[in-house]
């Protein structure tokens, strides 16, 4: 979408004017073509950073991502590599329905050779994006669209706090990176570990506050490769774990997290690993707030974990 105006969410605003048309340009509407040509550019030696307008539209590019980008280094024994970044807005909370609200990260975490990143705030978004561009391997970079203008904890009836008034909205203007593969503990706690990423980090914070439960909230930031050490250290401390994500339940990334937690922390667990996620339905329109896993549902899961 228009390089002149900066795209649907204005993420690339000003770049073409500043860097010129050979460094920032529009493409025909073909996700297959966008990613396929990016792969060719990377094979030449450039570092393409492409945008898919909504994660919901990535599927035409899926073959190029899975069959090509993810495997080129391996199958050519390193002769050719694929250092591309694919950015896409993901997630709901915007009354966008099933074609503007999806969180398809699990379709990518299941693909060896890819890296999958989901920032939850502007500072991490910048640092992780620069790290992703530097990274020699293909990175799928999800940008939770509900967070573009400010944090969102699920209380849709309240006004949005802009990032300008939030500590994580303060972004250093210089060059810095946030390492891939490292999670961040957003809230230290002793009672239960919450594994979250993207918008759900703020929903989990609200749920902890509203239930009064001393939750340790981990913002995973990178889903693949995962910071397992951070997770294990936390769950072995708290003995309880709740996983939260917007994506649908079945075979969502939470299933991988639950499997890992029980495998590595079984003898420390006091309660089953809980999951609070999107329902296994297409993302509805009118029922946005019944679908989006809000602080009430997450709070119930925290209480269940404590009562077990």
């Amino acid at each position: 979408m228009s390089a002149i105006s900066g795209g649907v969410f204005r993420c690339t605003a000003g770049l073409q004017q500043k860097y010129g048309r050979t460094r920032c340009f529009d493409t025909p509407i073909s996700e297959l073509g966008i990613v396929g040509t990016a792969i060719g550019m990377a094979a030449y030696g450039l570092k393409p950073c492409v945008e898919v307008q909504f994660a919901d539209y990535v599927y035409p590019a899926y073959d190029q991502i899975v069959s090509e980008a993810a495997r080129i280094r391996y199958r050519s024994n390193g002769q050719f590599t694929c250092p591309i970044v694919i950015r896409m807005p993901s997630g709901g909370g915007i009354f966008g329905g099933q074609t503007h609200s999806q969180s398809p990260e699990a379709l990518f975490t299941h693909v060896c050779g890819l890296k999958v990143v989901v920032p939850s705030n502007p500072r991490d978004a910048k640092g992780l994006l620069i790290a992703a561009i530097d990274d020699p391997d293909p990175v799928i970079f999800f940008e939770p669209k509900r967070l573009y203008n400010g944090p969102f904890d699920g209380h849709h009836e309240r006004p949005v706090t802009p990032w300008s008034r939030h500590p994580l909205g303060e972004v250093d203007a210089g060059h810095f990176t946030v390492p891939l593969g490292k999670a961040e503990v957003r809230r230290k706690g002793d009672s239960v570990t919450v594994l979250a990423y993207g918008t759900m980090v703020y929903v989990a914070e609200a749920a902890a506050e509203e239930t009064g439960i001393d939750a340790e909230i981990i913002d995973l930031r990178t889903l693949l490769p995962l910071d397992l050490d951070c997770i294990v250290e936390s769950v072995r401390k708290t003995g309880r774990c709740v996983v939260v994500h917007e994506a649908t339940l079945t075979s969502g990334f939470g299933a991988e997290l639950a499997a890992l937690v029980q495998e590595h922390c079984f003898y420390h667990l006091e309660a089953p690993v809980g999951r609070v996620t999107g329902w296994d339905t297409p993302y509805p329109h009118a029922q946005e707030w019944d679908y989006f896993p809000g602080p009430a549902r997450v709070g119930e899961a925290l209480v269940r974990a404590m009562e077990a």
Binding site: G36, A43, N77
Partner: protein, 327 residues
């Protein structure tokens, strides 16, 4: 062409003898990749299908390395990771072959775009078969090549058979495959793919056009797949035996030979001599390769290597798995 033909013959035999699992030959299509290769400069990049090994042989890539890959032995440059004949050589302008059809066609356009963006003069050549032009990657390649006037040569090798489906299914209502380029504003040529000199002339023209930044060209090479699709295929199941015996467009090797003999530049005796020399060199390479093992016997790539190269740096979860695998 003769080397490629002899190479194919020996490797087909090797597959039948169980030295590898799978092989695909070029019978009848030798001129297409061998002649095209001669029109390229060092640094140009091909994005081939599985039936353009002539690009490697005519480009001087060592046959023994190709055979090591076919045998997936301890000296395989690709460490046993790929099916036989899925070569890769960045040095010789040969992009890693994928098993998925058509994906390389749009990647070639991207490589060419990158060259143009970098003010380079190297060009890319995409390759695709008649059947695979039905894939969406073909369409995307033409759209992007057209929109960006990419310095790319887009080659459609119409050997008439996509495994067992005749070209008509993919061609649909279009008179020719070349005609598809015109819909995208891309100049298109149709050439007798079994005429070595015609292929070379057309290739030179299109490559020069791209290098002078005049944009993409679509070329349809009309040829014929004499043999089976692969060692897993039996053409008698879907086409009459006398069709391949009739050899539409004729043997490209014989055609060039006759032409050169008529012009006094070659002779039957020299041809016989060349056949012998070529076979000797192929057999020598094969003996060398077999010293390093074949698929089920002798040296093999290490199991430990299976875990390498998924990423630039091995992530913790793969290290754990490798440990679990006991390597």
């Amino acid at each position: 062409m003769m080397t490629l033909r002899a190479f194919d013959a020996r490797m087909l035999m090797a597959q039948r003898q169980g030295k590898t699992s799978f092989y695909m030959q070029h019978m009848g299509e030798e001129a297409v990749s061998c002649a095209f290769r001669k029109a390229l400069e060092p640094g140009d990049m091909n994005f081939p299908t599985y039936r353009q090994a002539g690009l490697l042989i005519a480009g001087g890539y060592p046959m023994v390395d190709m055979m090591n890959q076919i045998f997936s032995n301890e000296a395989d440059p690709l460490k046993g990771r790929q099916l036989p004949i899925m070569y890769s050589s960045k040095e010789r302008g040969f992009f890693s072959i994928s098993g998925n059809l058509g994906t390389q066609f749009v990647q070639a356009v991207g490589w060419a775009m990158a060259s143009a963006i970098s003010n380079d003069t190297r060009i890319a050549a995409g390759w695709i078969g008649d059947g695979s032009t039905a894939e969406s990657d073909f369409h995307a390649a033409l759209v992007f090549a057209s929109t960006y006037r990419a310095p790319v040569v887009l080659n459609i090798v119409n050997n008439q058979w996509a495994i067992s489906t005749f070209q008509g299914i993919a061609r649909g209502g279009s008179g020719t495959f070349a005609a598809r380029g015109l819909g995208f504003g891309i100049p298109a040529l149709r050439v007798d793919g079994n005429d070595y000199l015609a292929v070379y002339a057309v290739a030179r023209w299109a490559v020069e056009r791209a290098r002078r930044n005049l944009g993409p060209t679509l070329i349809e090479y009309v040829t014929y797949r004499v043999g089976a699709h692969s060692t897993s295929d039996d053409p008698s199941a879907y086409r009459p035996k006398d069709e391949s015996e009739a050899w539409p467009l004729g043997d490209p090797v014989i055609r060039l030979k006759n032409h050169l003999v008529r012009r006094g530049a070659w002779s039957e005796e020299r041809h016989r001599q060349a056949e012998a020399e070529v076979m000797d060199s192929v057999i020598a390479a094969q003996k060398e390769a077999e010293k390093h093992g074949t698929l089920h016997s002798g040296g093999k790539p290490s199991v430990r290597d299976m875990f390498e190269g998924v990423y630039a740096e091995m992530p913790p979860h793969l290290r754990r798995q490798r440990h679990q695998a006991g390597v």
